[in-house]
Symmetry: C2
Subunit: 194 residues, 2 copies
């Protein structure tokens, strides 16, 4: 039975070693920011820098491993309908909306949603790193280094599946930034399987 | 009077708001990993994810701002002879050398050097994020997302200069990874000016 994350919100849940997590873009073109913490020691957290270094690429898909800051494998991508996700940018936040969009009364964004959902697990705001942004489409110009946030390539019903390599606390959102989601806010579904 | 960081080592020092830090590649083709923490609250730390998001590019140079995880400006690049630095990859570590190079008795790397140098300031290993890797040359293939670690573009005596926008603790290394430094380990110089 899939769980549904309402638009512009987030949640946190446990994912045990060996279980799989499938994140589904129900309506298409909707990003889901994903964080992972070691359930038994939350100082160990998903690391873009370690992962990209070991993978020697910025775009990860089926077969690729997501590492922690302590160089342990946290998650493995075992299926992926889309093939384009972002692992460069931090979750959108009040500050993102203030600095990039010029909002005067900004939404708390994925950052605020993740912080609220993860607080009961002992995670504080400063412990939130770069997220693995499922379905987020960030092309980079190889010559200039310029990046863009383009509409996701994900179509309705497409998904990405991860297997947990350790006992984890997962934070997951339906992303709150207009630009990341082609101008609208939609829900995200997820399922956990043994 | 410049300070010199010996090959494969690191140091930490204070940099006050308004002061400038110049990092010089004395012999050429040598990387220097740079970290910055808010001196008055070390939970605030340099953030690749925030910085790349606000800059909309992965290659930063003169005029660009380096942000913290709390979206405050920590450093501004005010001069840059080289124009190619990396802000995607974490400092090399025992695990890097084990996983990427297959070393059986690995050096502690920039990660270990930074951890040791920053420990007296209260910084722990888990607080070390992606560093701003001065002179590190990491081209990305725009189509596939593949990245390489190429020889630095920096020539002997070339430098990059930052102005501090807040009171900082800086961690700085002469990088320990063969591949990052075109196969040899060289010193790095730095100067602080008011």
């Amino acid at each position: 039975m899939p769980h549904e994350i309402p638009p512009r919100s987030g949640t946190a849940f446990l994912l045990s070693q060996g279980q799989t997590l499938t994140v589904t873009d129900i309506l298409g073109e909707q990003v889901a920011d994903l964080l992972a913490f070691n359930r038994h020691d939350i100082g160990e957290v998903i690391s873009s820098g370690r992962t990209l270094d070991y993978a020697s690429k910025i775009y990860l898909s089926t077969g690729d491993l997501l590492y922690s800051n302590r160089s342990q494998v946290m998650l493995e991508i075992i299926a992926d309908d889309v093939g384009r996700h972002d692992f460069l940018l931090t979750p959108c936040s009040k500050d993102t909306f203030r600095i990039i969009y010029g909002d005067t009364d900004p939404h708390r964004g994925c950052f605020g949603n993740l912080a609220a959902a993860l607080a009961p697990h002992g995670v504080t705001e400063d412990m939130i790193p770069v997220a693995f942004n499922c379905f987020m489409n960030v092309p980079v110009d190889a010559a200039t280094g310029e990046l863009r946030v383009d509409p996701p390539l994900s179509k309705a019903g497409e998904s990405i599946t991860f297997r947990a390599h350790m006992d984890l606390i997962i934070g997951l959102t339906a992303c709150s930034a207009l630009q990341s989601n082609n101008g609208s806010f939609k829900p995200i579904a997820y399922t956990i399987d043994d």
